[in-house]
């Protein structure tokens, strides 16, 4: 498993990402909770749109298209890319191996 934290310090939204296989997602009224069983860290998704993006990342060739599919156009992606970058830093997200 490639380790996003150590090899890709810069979050590249043009690459294909996915949830770390050890991360569990629990939807909540405000968004969702993420829990990483490996690092034992908890994170919060603060709305349902980012939840949709996170859950669909694996189906997209890059992050921007996942955002677009969730209804976030390129001009509004800044906060989402920032949030996803934070998740990548904490290893909640990893680069898809095969792409």
């Amino acid at each position: 498993m490639e380790c996003a934290g150590s090899t890709d310090r810069v979050f590249d939204p043009d690459r294909a990402w996915q949830l770390h296989p050890q991360v569990a997602v629990r939807p909540e009224p405000f968004g969702a909770l993420l829990y990483h069983f490996g690092t034992r860290k908890l994170s919060f998704l603060k709305n349902r749109t980012i939840l949709t993006v996170v859950r669909s990342l694996a189906e997209h060739p890059d992050v921007r298209s996942a955002c677009r599919a969730a209804g976030v156009q390129d001009s509004g992606q800044g906060p989402y890319l920032h949030a996803l970058g934070v998740l990548a830093d904490s290893k909640m997200l990893v680069v898809q191996e095969s792409k």
Partner: protein
């Protein structure tokens, strides 16, 4: 989206707890003077293996990510490892607290092989003298032996869990060094006057000056130290956000406790009939208690600032810890007994004959437990009623 909005959501409660403490047994090989759950003897009504597995199934359905298993000493239950394996196989991670009694080299090797089990070793002194006065003779050597076994087996990042007291607050750097030696992480939490802790709280809780010392230490060196968000009553001492964490009482909102007989309480520090929300044996089980118990719904309502309304620090500390107030006889809408502005001490002085709640039905102590001889005598703060067994 801003952070306060998220905290508001937490105040209204979640579909399932984030942090669930499950005390598996009241049985314990030690008799710590400050035991929150007044443990000692096993309760004959404790949940069976089957009932425990049913709870794990329910936690899996509710997507509770992990449980904090404690006791008593949970590892003395004959089915303990079976339950740990069952939980992790059902996507419920386990973090368990132990005094180390069963952490042999063989067990340590098994634990090191799992990504889904975390171990927390309790230690209340960085030296045997300070630790054993509270936790009993030999308990320091036992805990350190467990840490050695875990490190030797390659178990990474065990937790060393310390309850901060008047006698160990000067040892925080030593605790951090001890953790470093075993590749472990230090976790420090607040002493609560709960269970047998009520009997020793006056003698053991940090003084006002020590509270400031503790706060300063956390701000300066606490970055890698876990606290379970337990020191939010200190947040009025500095800038908002200087202390990591949510700074919010999570009782019934993000936290709750299941006790060994299946009773559900608002938090691990209020094992008392007044904070009993229901039982996992009730129709609808744990999920029903979490979502519909009157007590939990009440705790999710906005709390009144009460006597603290005019204090400029209320936004920072939210009035402090419910359990600390309850077990020192203070009103729940008043200041914390360790209020950093001194209002708690004033309130305690004003209620010298306050009704401190009797121990209630959950006392499982072997016999009256007293502080080790280095600590002086014990006394219950206000001479409350004897435990009802």
């Amino acid at each position: 989206m801003t952070v306060p909005r998220l905290i508001e959501q937490f105040e209204h409660g979640l579909d399932a707890p984030i942090c669930l403490t499950w005390e598996l047994t009241y049985a314990c090989n030690l008799a710590c003077v400050h035991c929150l759950s007044s443990s000692g003897k096993r309760d004959p009504r404790e949940l069976s293996t089957r009932q425990c597995k049913d709870i794990i199934d329910e936690l899996e359905r509710m997507q509770v990510f992990y449980v904090n298993i404690g006791g008593g000493e949970p590892t003395v239950r004959p089915d303990f490892w079976e339950l740990v394996d069952y939980a992790t196989a059902h996507h419920v991670g386990v973090k368990f607290s132990t005094n180390g009694v069963r952490i042999t080299p063989e067990v340590a090797t098994r634990l090191a092989a799992s990504d889904y089990v975390d171990v927390q070793i309790s230690l209340d002194g960085a030296t045997a003298e300070v630790n054993d006065a509270v936790r009993g003779p030999g308990s320091f050597a036992m805990a350190v032996g467990a840490l050695e076994n875990l490190a030797a087996a390659g178990f990474s990042d065990a937790k060393i869990s310390v309850v901060v007291t008047r006698h160990n607050v000067d040892q925080l750097d030593e605790f951090a060094a001890l953790a470093g030696r075993y590749g472990a992480t230090l976790r420090i939490t607040r002493l609560r006057p709960s269970g047998r802790g009520a009997d020793v709280w006056e003698d053991l809780h940090p003084t006002a000056a020590q509270q400031v010392q503790l706060y300063d230490w956390l701000v300066a060196r606490g970055e890698r130290v876990l606290t379970g968000d337990s020191f939010f009553h200190l947040s009025g001492l500095g800038e908002p956000g200087a202390l990591a964490g949510l700074n919010l009482c999570g009782a019934g909102r993000v936290v709750c406790l299941i006790d060994p007989v299946g009773d559900v309480y608002a938090c691990p520090f209020v094992l008392h009939d007044e904070f009993r929300a229901g039982s996992v044996r009730d129709p609808g089980g744990f999920a029903h208690v979490w979502r519909h118990s009157e007590l939990f719904l009440e705790l999710r309502e906005p709390a009144s600032a009460g006597a603290c309304a005019s204090c400029g620090s209320y936004d920072a500390c939210q009035g402090g810890c419910m359990a600390a107030k309850f077990f020192t006889g203070l009103p729940l809408d008043g200041p914390d007994p360790e209020c950093v502005k001194g209002f708690g001490e004033d309130a305690l002085a004003g209620t010298a004959v306050a009704m401190v709640p009797a121990a209630g039905s959950s006392d499982h102590s072997w016999k009256p437990v007293t502080l080790g001889r280095t600590m002086g005598s014990t006394r219950r703060a206000t001479g409350a009623a004897a435990p009802v067994v």
